[in-house]
């Protein structure tokens, strides 16, 4: 199978600082790929490069066979930023309706995605009165609206309670089972076991690209947190 994302020798400079130092990897379709690593490691920068909003890029970034940021990709790729990008002074339903109009999808789809993220009972509430986790799920819902082939989610489960986290990971799994490719970032190692494949990013270097089982086997660690520490120390 061909990859959904193909990155070769990606170098990103932000300000005057080189933030990503030559990454090469591929992301397989229909899988949940975890992008893990400590805060400041470059996860957000890498995701921005994939969706085409990051400037200062060298190397090649192919997304669904096209150069990242191609206009044709705007309906095929969904991006959820780390900070929820929704309108606080609109209700949940109004936010969804606006993004639905932008994407050209119908009202029924709004109901569906609200249900998927567990916010069906919050439609009339102003987004600024929601909790942080609820707001993040509104942002996620708007990205699901257009049924994108590739979903790039920047720390979507931060600040959620364990039950909601589990529900969202189940949602990601079922989306992947339906053929959607997901790249999900997190700085919580505990979430790594939910992924089909892991990319570990540390200080702008890709220090591992493996399955969770493969990583455990390779490092001989008891858990993924330990595996990450082992990899980090080996490459330090």
């Amino acid at each position: 199978m061909t990859s959904s994302v193909h990155v070769r020798d990606l170098v990103v400079t932000r300000g005057r600082v080189e933030v990503l130092h030559g990454l090469t990897f591929a992301i397989e379709p229909g899988r949940v790929t975890g992008l893990l690593g400590p805060s400041g490691g470059g996860k957000t920068t890498l995701m921005r490069a994939l969706v085409g909003v990051q400037s200062g890029i060298r190397g090649s970034v192919l997304v669904l066979g096209l150069p990242a940021g191609s206009p044709e990709l705007r309906r095929r790729v969904g991006y959820v930023t780390q900070a929820p990008a929704v309108y606080g002074d609109l209700t949940v339903a109004e936010n969804l309706a606006y993004f639905a109009a932008v994407l050209g999808v119908g009202r029924a789809r709004c109901q569906q995605v609200l249900h998927d993220v567990g916010l069906a009972d919050r439609q009339g509430q102003l987004v600024q009165t929601l909790s942080g986790g609820q707001r993040a799920r509104v942002s996620l819902a708007t990205a699901l609206l257009g049924e994108p082939e590739l979903l790039v989610l920047d720390e979507p489960t931060v600040g959620l309670d364990p039950v909601l986290r589990r529900d969202l990971w189940q949602l990601f799994g079922s989306l992947a089972a339906g053929g959607v490719t997901l790249l999900v970032s997190s700085h919580v190692m505990d979430e790594a076991r939910r992924c089909d494949r892991l990319l570990l990013l540390r200080d702008g270097h890709l220090v591992a690209d493996d399955t969770p089982a493969g990583l455990l086997a390779r490092t001989g660690a008891d858990d993924l947190e330990g595996a990450f520490l082992a990899v980090a120390e080996a490459t330090a």
């Binding site: 932000r14 300000g15 969706v51 085409g52 909003v53 990051q54 400037s55 200062g56 940021g69 705007r74 309906r75 790729v77 991006y79 930023t81 900070a83 929820p84 990008a85 929704v86 309108y87 606080g88 002074d89 609109l90 109004e94 606006y98 993004f99 109009a101 932008v102 994407l103 050209g104 102003l126 708007t142 257009g146």
Partner: protein
Amino acid sequence: MNAARTFATAGRVLRQLRRDRRTAALLLGVPSVLLILLRYVYDGRPAVFDHVGAPLLALFPFITMFLVTSVAMLRERTSGTLERLLTTPLGRADLLVGYALAFGAVAVLQTGIASALALGPLGLQLAASPALVVLLALLDALLGMALGLFLSAFARNEFQAVQFLPAFVLPQLLLCGLFADRSAMAAPLRWLSDVLPLTYAVDGMQELTVRSGVGSALAVDLAVVAGASALALALGAATLRRQSA
């Protein structure tokens, strides 16, 4: 450009404005209060009220739309919604024209209320038809919107955005010929006022107080204000970059 996306954007902007009732009330009510104030400040000199009142009808939409747009766009930028929108099929023209439709509608309402009050109970004397007043005020609103949109790209926060009003609008007010006769200005200032769009907005309103039809002077004023709005809007569009550091 896509009509459905443009109208959806206009509807969304209006909904946000309507939700903020105090802002909406201030937008629509403050011009009337100021006009009443002005009317009784010049209680004994109705000619002065005619001379200053009409240009004010042009200035209200210009100033309020400048402020509202710069803050609204700054919010879109800092909240991440702008970046988000630019990763969707929404075009830059959809966004800009959507904003223009929404704020244009507010400007028409604002000017409609203010002119009805000024021309009715307050007895402002105009030679031209009120429809021309609303048309010119609408163009002024679009000019304010376009300038606010463009300048918002250079503000990092709301404090800076609000300071652009005294920095960019007050000098234009001083030079536009409303408070001081332009012919009495030092030559360099007069040249400067010749190239500032607000000069033409105010001149247009003053034309409306003395002439009934669309004379050549008014046509020039309308064209300059419309042209300056289009230029500022194009510059503003250039600041909506899909990529950033």
